[in-house]
């Protein structure tokens, strides 16, 4: 069975990290399998942990009164699930649900924030990668807002 640092080292959000940093991060994580339909995160709940998808896909959703549940984005193997653990007030903004059976690495957000406080180089390296992920998704969201197919 692969160790967690090996599993996470190939994910873009952890790619290129020094082995000692991967080992520190891995100490805050464990493997978990969940069946399809499992709610991983719920809007408004404390953002105490986040996930790295190893297999499967996860929907980021919001429930809108009168419109029902809307899927905003789908995440896949290699993607991190959950960003609100990084910054106060540490509360989830959206629901996330496993669309199919998933293999996940589950991280304790407070544990990882603590390690980043102790080792600022780790904090910088981790933050750089998460910001790149956030920018990519932010730009995709702006593109999504254009509703290009609706006004073609």
């Amino acid at each position: 069975m692969q160790r967690i640092e090996e599993l996470i080292s190939i994910a873009p959000v952890f790619e290129g990290l020094a082995s000692e940093h991967l080992a520190l991060i891995a100490r805050c994580g464990h493997n978990e399998r969940v069946p399809a339909g499992t709610m991983l995160l719920r809007e408004g709940q404390p953002a105490e942990r986040f996930f790295l998808i190893r297999r499967g896909s996860v929907a980021v959703e919001v429930h809108a009164p009168g419109r029902g549940t809307l899927v905003i984005e789908t995440l896949h193997a290699g993607d991190p699930v959950g960003l609100s653990w990084l910054f106060a007030p540490y509360r989830w903004q959206f629901d996330t649900r496993a669309v199919e059976p998933c293999e996940l690495v589950v991280f304790d957000g407070a544990c990882l924030r603590g390690k980043c406080e102790e080792d600022h180089e780790l904090g910088y390296q981790l933050m750089s990668r998460f910001v790149a992920n956030v920018i990519s998704r932010f730009q995709a969201t702006r593109f999504q807002l254009l509703d290009v197919y609706g006004h073609a």
Partner: protein, 276 residues
């Protein structure tokens, strides 16, 4: 080139079938009243009209190896297209063409081919897909990246599986969906990373809203695709379709005559000039 009375004279065609694809889009199958086959190359378009309702350029979406049927997928967005979409079996429509430069099907032989389609932009690419699949062994990977507004706006959903079974990798995404949709949600550019393309070995054919193509091309360039191997079908106000009237000018070119399929590097500079 034109076997009939000439490119400015419309020929009558009869609607033999009509299918509603989405809330505002129909696919019509037409047969020439003359009984003559309608030979075209993937990527070409016709000028299509319902009598008294005006004439519009519509890409051909049928199988180039079945020239006895002219197929058009039309979105009802104005007087002319609404009249065309309303034409049921037995009704007559008028057709001029085919016109324009086609997709580079032969030039792409030996390469991976990436089809990047958005919304109704899949319609002009359907003839290319069918031609590529008939000649499947001449190409490397065949990859379709297809984005639509929502699951109910996807074109040809019944054909996507059939194409997949014939060797096309089909990646579909929608901008938004309900929880019953198990596929991908997100913009079409997000599919580029998931498809793990060999950018340097790929030829891209793209059609969709212009802003979608700009974003898709930028992502594909980042993935290593050379700009002169990216082709896109452009849309402008085509009226005469033979390069005379100038309404469809794009920089120094005319889309009806020099396009609609352009090498991206030739069209791109003009797309960034707002006055053009």
């Amino acid at each position: 080139m034109f076997a009939g009375p000439g490119p400015m004279v419309p020929e009558p065609f009869e609607v033999v079938s009509s299918r509603q694809d989405t809330d505002d889009t129909w696919t019509l199958e037409l047969e020439a009243c003359s009984g003559q086959p309608f030979v075209f190359a993937p990527g070409q378009f016709t000028m299509l009209s319902a009598a008294g309702a005006g004439e519009v350029p519509i890409s051909i979406s049928g199988d180039p190896d079945e020239p006895e049927r002219l197929v058009h997928t039309v979105r009802a967005v104005g007087l002319a297209t609404e009249a065309i979409c309303a034409a049921g079996p037995g009704r007559r429509l008028l057709v001029r063409g085919p016109f324009g430069e086609p997709w580079p099907i032969e030039q792409a032989e030996g390469a991976d081919v990436v089809i990047a389609a958005g919304g109704i932009g899949l319609a002009p690419l359907r003839p290319a897909i069918l031609r590529l699949l008939v000649r499947r062994r001449r190409y490397g990977r065949l990859v379709l990246l297809y984005g639509a507004r929502s699951p109910d706006q996807l074109l040809y959903p019944g054909e996507l599986d059939a194409w997949r079974s014939r060797g096309l990798e089909v990646w579909v995404t929608v901008d938004s969906a309900g929880p019953e949709w198990l596929g991908h949600v997100g913009v079409v550019t997000r599919l580029v990373r998931r498809a793990r393309l060999d950018g340097a070995g790929s030829v891209v054919m793209s059609c969709g809203p212009e802003v979608m193509m700009r974003f898709a091309v930028a992502t594909l360039r980042d993935a290593g695709v050379a700009e002169d191997r990216i082709f896109a079908s452009m849309e402008r106000n085509m009226q005469c379709a033979v390069g005379r009237c100038g309404h469809c000018q794009l920089g120094p070119t005319l889309v009806c005559r020099d396009g609609p399929v352009y090498r991206w590097r030739e069209a791109a500079p003009w797309l960034m000039i707002r006055e053009v």
